[in-house]
Amino acid sequence: MAKAKTGATANGVNGAVAHHENLPAGVFQQNHLKKLDALLPELDIPNRKYGDLTKDDYIELYRLLYMTREVEARLTRLYRQGKIVGGVYLSKGTEAIAVASGYSLNRDTDWLFPMHRDLGAHMSFGQRPMKLYAQYMGRAAGPTRGRDGNTHMSDKSRRIVGMISHLGSMIPVAVGAAIGCRMQGKKVVSLTFIGDGGASIGDFHEGLNFAAVAHAPFVLIIENNQYAYSTPIVAQYGAAKIIDRAIGYGIPGEVVDGNNIYAVYETVKKAVDRARNGGGPTMIEAVTMRMRGHSEHDDHFYVPKDLLEKWAERDPILRAQRFLEKSGHLKEKARLKLEEDTIAFIEAEIEEASASPMPDTGDLVSSVYA
């Protein structure tokens, strides 16, 4: 990943320093500048072939990416209209990671453990937007029938396991699913996500160490979006990169440009194939930038504006569009048609979810036990 020509501005650094007034003068600023410099990718993604992707895959990944952005935009609209139960946690700017990761799996056999910002992974793993909207509205048609929180979407029929709110907790669980499937003689992979914040939690370490020792068919995607709620990465970890920890676990670790959906796919698919073929676990750090607040109630004031501007130019959708145009896989006219069709599809899905009934209260307590 190329270094940026300039680091953060004084504004940006000061914004972060407010967090750490007790640090020796200069130390925090230098660290922060270094980390930001190291993370900013090139403006355009390389025009080359990515893994085993076909022309149809390039287009389909773009469609899923675009759909994720638009599904979320409408979630915000519904939230402002008071039609959503609870908060809305968007992946704006980071969608490529979840979409490409879900797409790398075998949706008929593998196990997916998404986090709260991984709506795109649900969809690239085969989930309908209608189900996601129904969950957000607390409807019976949601995959958890209104029981679990709006971003916690288990779907038993699809082998999707929703997270609990305690970040990192799903890592050992996903490792257990991977080991369990192997014990059953299946060539199945399990994949989960964690953020730059969640990577600080004990279960991250316990789970990865367990996976390494067990040689589990497991892939961990670290979505480094640079802020855990309001806490910047410089206040989150001491190493230059989270992925440096892979050495300590004795497993492969790779860094990928998280705003290049095709590179994410290529990297994750390689790890998934390796896991499936008995090569053990991999951890991947996908570098990106969260372009909204932690949730839609959070106005993001603590993120330097010029940092957001730089990352906005590196938006995964814009970069994919430029790549598709340049490579000739999808020219503008066809792309606009695809986008139009996608919007129409989403609107119909919202309509179906909105018309669906609320859950029955009759079996609430009796559904606690199997």
Partner: protein, 324 residues
């Protein structure tokens, strides 16, 4: 019918289920080559292999999390916490992940959580605890605590066959001290059913685990003095057998609730509250609670004896209750 100790009851039940059902496997620290810290799984690795008798890294949260994951994909893991005291390091996985899984996702979660617990073995503050009441508060979990070899076998088998997370509290003090005839083959003790360990007509003791044996000894002594004591072994703490409690209260009208766990916030408080609310008109005396002192488990024998519930304390408490 062979005579088995309490620990043999557990081992025998585990082995029976592992032979019967290939989806059952054990994971925990030192359970394989070493056979478990208390030798519950001694020899298992030779019969079932290292994959089904899985030696894990020292990481309670991951062990429990891996158990949850394996149960999700259709296996029936038996997770061993080497000492129940260490379950706090896996607490979140037990309570929030295992405890909510079926409710929030519809996945059945057949995982058994073995918890060697209890004092009287000079274990000090961190190898003596009885942490069952932390879990009897959580909808989604089941909690059992056998007191005899027969129940130990019957409850471990029932727990393995249950499609929900079951915490199985096995009392370390009883491991090699209690023996009885236990059938070699299938033994099932239904979760949620208490057992009348001794019939009586004057007083009732509602108890579980090691306290059952204290109550039985105290009852024997009181019998010499002409006081007839009934001992109800709850066996299951969540769900618990309300009908059995009502039956014994109706019969005697005087009840002591007893356990080795700390008094304040112990599950005995739940039993006492239930009796007070549902059996008020049957009572001839206030519901009495007897438990260990609200104090970390001390190491020195004289201190431990002072802190713990004992036969003498149960005897004295029952005598007072008889005289009320």
């Amino acid at each position: 019918m062979p005579v088995m100790t309490y620990i043999e009851g557990i081992s025998n039940g585990l082995r029976y289920e592992m032979r019967r059902d290939p989806s059952v496997f054990i994971l925990g620290e030192d359970v394989g080559v070493y056979g478990g810290a208390f030798k519950v799984t001694k020899g298992f690795i030779d019969e079932f292999g290292p994959e089904r008798v899985y030696d894990t890294p020292l990481a309670e949260s991951a062990i429990m999390g891996v158990g949850v994951g394996a149960a999700l994909v259709g296996l029936r893991p038996v997770v061993e916490f080497q000492f129940s005291d260490f379950i706090t390091s896996g607490f979140n996985q037990v309570v929030n992940n295992a405890g909510t899984m079926h409710f929030r996702s519809g996945f059945p979660l057949p995982v058994v959580i073995r918890c060697p617990s209890g004092a009287g073995v000079h274990g000090g503050p961190f190898h003596s605890q009885n942490p069952e009441s932390w879990f009897t508060h959580v909808p989604g979990l089941k909690v059992v605590a056998p007191s005899t070899p027969y129940d130990a076998k019957g409850l471990i088998i029932a727990a393995i066959r249950d499609n929900n997370p079951v915490l199985y509290f096995e009392h370390k003090f009883l491991y090699r001290r209690i023996k009885e005839d236990v059938p070699e083959g299938e033994v099932i003790v239904e979760i949620g059913k208490a057992d009348l360990k001794r019939e009586g007509s004057d007083l009732s003791v509602v108890c579980y685990g090691a306290a059952v044996h204290l109550a039985l000894e105290a009852a024997e002594r009181l019998q010499q003095e002409g006081i007839s004591v009934e001992v109800l072994d709850m066996r299951s703490l969540y769900p618990y057998d309300k009908e059995a409690i009502v039956r014994t209260v109706k019969k005697t009208g005087r009840v002591m609730v007893a356990h080795e766990d700390w008094l304040t916030g112990g599950v005995g408080g739940e039993f006492a509250a239930f009796i007070s609310q549902e059996c008020f008109e049957m009572l001839d005396a206030p519901v009495t609670r007897l438990a260990s002192a609200d104090c970390p488990y001390p190491f020195s024998s004289i201190l431990e004896e002072h802190m713990l519930i004992t036969t003498d304390k149960v005897y004295a408490g029952l005598k007072k209750l008889a005289q009320y």
